[in-house]
């Protein structure tokens, strides 16, 4: 559908007065990638997206899309399109005119732009709603229209600002799958800002985890989850225990942890802990503990393992792990 182009950020910085929102980040996103910018609020992910889109000026550094330095270009000249968090559909225009808006601005005649807009509405299965106003649509439908509107300029890159945050949990999972399908079909790069690690894991080819204006770690979801580089990554991505050992801090996946009765001899590593909570989660049992180092610990063990050696809150146990499955943190 559109030309393939890789995106490169070269020490891109955003300052608001004295505060640095984005601190000299370098990032390469290959063409056709589903990339998630992940991080807590205020980490600079939205500023980064808005700089790529051209809605925020770049304080320092360059943004290169394909062979073009787009740092100073206006949004419409960059080959990017943005889907806004609240969808930003024009309330006074019909669905069809919303989708055709960009073409109207560039002077395309009415029959041509309406035909093209209908094609895109078909792509997102919204062609039956062409005559409606945005307020007559549900959240999920509005999002599809916003997608169609963003795609009508045939962008090389679609930028999505927390696209799923306004939807209820059920719809969120459904739209998530649809975004992924659309990205696969179109073959263009999607850059998706989110603070939900689960969303990023499910969608991304490339997860870029940001914190304090810097990139903390980037890689495929599996790389990031299996080898978190820092304590922040391990905690943010979830499912990990951060344990202080004699050789420094290590991350241990909750589902790799083992529980023993106090005094058991075990040839791996372990620390003693007191059980604070036991939750049955269906496919596994989640046991929360307070470790002797003062940190919270979580173990996810299978139902069968739990039944063979049940524990109750208040009980002292040994939280153990195989050193081969632990990842040293910087």
């Amino acid at each position: 559908m559109a030309v393939q182009a890789a995106l490169e950020l070269v020490s891109v910085t955003k300052r608001y007065g004295a505060t640095v929102a984005v601190d000299a980040i370098d990032l390469k996103i290959p063409a056709g990638t589903y990339c998630c910018l992940l991080g807590p609020s205020g980490c600079g992910k939205t500023s980064t997206l808005r700089m790529i889109a051209g809605h925020e000026s770049v304080s320092d550094g360059d943004i290169v899309l394909g062979a073009t330095n787009v740092t100073l270009l206006p949004p419409a000249k960059r080959g990017t399109a943005m889907m806004f968090q609240s969808y930003a559909l024009f309330p006074h225009l019909s669905v069809l005119d919303n989708v055709a808006f960009a073409l109207k601005m560039s002077g395309v005649d009415k029959p041509t732009r309406h035909a093209k807009a209908m094609d895109l509405l078909k792509l997102v299965a919204m062609d039956g709603y062409a005559g409606r106003l945005p307020t007559q649509l549900s959240g999920g439908q509005q999002q599809r229209v916003a997608l169609a509107r963003a795609l009508i300029t045939e962008p090389q890159m679609l930028l999505l600002d927390e696209p799923l945050s306004a939807l209820d949990p059920f719809l969120r999972v459904k739209m998530r799958a649809e975004l992924k399908r659309l990205q696969r079909e179109l073959g263009i790069t999607f850059i998706h800002v989110t603070h939900g690690q689960e969303e990023a894991m499910a969608l991304a080819d490339l997860v870029v985890l940001m914190n304090g204006g810097k990139i903390e770690q980037q890689g495929s979801p599996r790389e990031v989850f299996n080898a978190p580089r820092s304590e922040f990554v391990a905690k943010f991505i979830g499912g990990h225990n951060v344990i202080t050992t004699s050789t420094g801090k290590v991350a241990v996946r909750a589902d790799h942890a083992k529980l023993f009765r106090s005094g058991t001899v075990w040839d791996g590593q372990s620390i003693s802990a007191e059980v604070t909570d036991v939750e049955y989660q269906g496919t596994y049992v989640q046991i929360t503990m307070r470790g002797s180092d003062g940190g919270d610990l979580v173990a996810q063990i299978s139902e069968a393992d739990f039944d063979s050696q049940p524990v109750t809150p208040g009980e002292n146990v040994l939280f153990g792990w195989n050193p081969a499955t632990a990842h040293p943190l910087s």
């Binding site: 949004p75 930003a88 006074h92 109207k104 601005m105 300029t153």
Partner: protein, 295 residues
């Protein structure tokens, strides 16, 4: 369930009650009286409570005989309508621009409030004083003429600055632009800023965004402001009298003259005619925008 819904109905009527009473006592009932009186008879010194169309026929006297020339009443309404259109266009242009500046260029809420309050300063003095203040400025030996003569831009003072259509329009625009600014500002402030970014993202220029996004979404404010300005200008006789040097006729002035002559039925008939004319303009405007939908 039914008790609580009944209570809700009572409470909402109680809340709307004071306004309903004021509306009935001071607007609807007088209006009914005016309409009734407009169909009474009258002679040179009193009104006679019997049905008569004289109030209306006197007003339109000679209008058919004089065709193709317009009779006094039609010429007066024409002149009032002309003021109305010019003042409406100017207040709309200036009001829209000021509201745009306040809503989109002034970033902080505090400054927006401060600057809107600044717009109300003309209302801190009375209407009459504000009009009188134009005299030393626009008069034959006023500041403007002195400066123009002093700069040798003109040889002798301009006569049309004061007591002319020009000065009437200036006074109207000065007095009523505020009534455009506030409702338009109120509409604009509710426009989601991301809509403007979305337009920019779609390649719209600033002008295209103004025409395709901001203007249509400001329509409710424009209509409310326009109703204010049009109803005030249509019924005005003080501003046109004072700034026009009592030389320019207006629809409101006709009513005043009839009242001075104690011809109450004729005055009432003129009031009804003015009401109908103004209502027609407003209904026309409402047709352009379905205001209930937009609100």
């Amino acid at each position: 369930m039914e008790v609580s819904s009944l209570r809700r109905t009572i409470v909402s009527w109680l809340q709307a009650g004071p306004m309903v009473l004021v509306f009935f006592a001071f607007f609807l009932i007088p209006l009914v009286f005016v309409t009734i009186v407009s169909f009474w008879n009258y002679n040179d010194y009193e009104m006679i409570p019997e049905f008569s169309g004289r109030g209306y026929t006197d007003t339109f006297e000679g209008c058919i005989d004089q065709l193709p020339q317009f009779c006094t009443i039609l010429r007066t309404y024409g002149s009032t309508l002309k003021f109305c259109i010019i003042v409406w266009a100017l207040t709309l242009l200036i009001g829209f621009t000021v509201a745009y500046f306040l809503a989109f260029h002034v970033k902080s809420k505090t400054w927006q409030i401060a600057l809107s309050l600044l717009c109300t300063i003309p209302f801190w003095t009375s209407n009459v004083i504000r009009m009188i203040a134009w005299i030393p400025l626009l008069g034959r030996n006023g500041v403007v003429n002195q400066v123009l003569v002093g700069l040798h831009l003109i040889n002798e003072p301009l006569e049309w600055l004061l007591y002319s259509e020009f000065s009437v329009i200036i006074a109207f625009v000065h007095l009523f632009t505020f009534f455009m600014v506030i409702p338009i500002f109120n509409s604009m402030i509710r426009i989601d800023k991301s809509l403007i970014e979305a337009a920019y993202d779609a390649g719209a220029t600033g002008w295209q965004t103004l025409i395709n996004v901001i203007l249509p979404l400001s329509k409710p404010g424009i209509v409310i402001g326009s109703i204010f300005v049009i109803t005030i200008v249509m019924g005005d006789f003080i501003t046109i009298g004072m700034m026009g040097g009592q030389q320019i006729a207006s629809a409101g002035k006709i009513i005043q003259t009839r009242l001075d002559a104690i011809q109450f039925p004729a005055a009432a008939a003129n009031a009804v005619i003015l009401l109908i004319a103004t209502m027609m303009i407003i209904v026309g405007m409402m047709r352009l925008v379905d205001i209930r939908k937009e609100l």
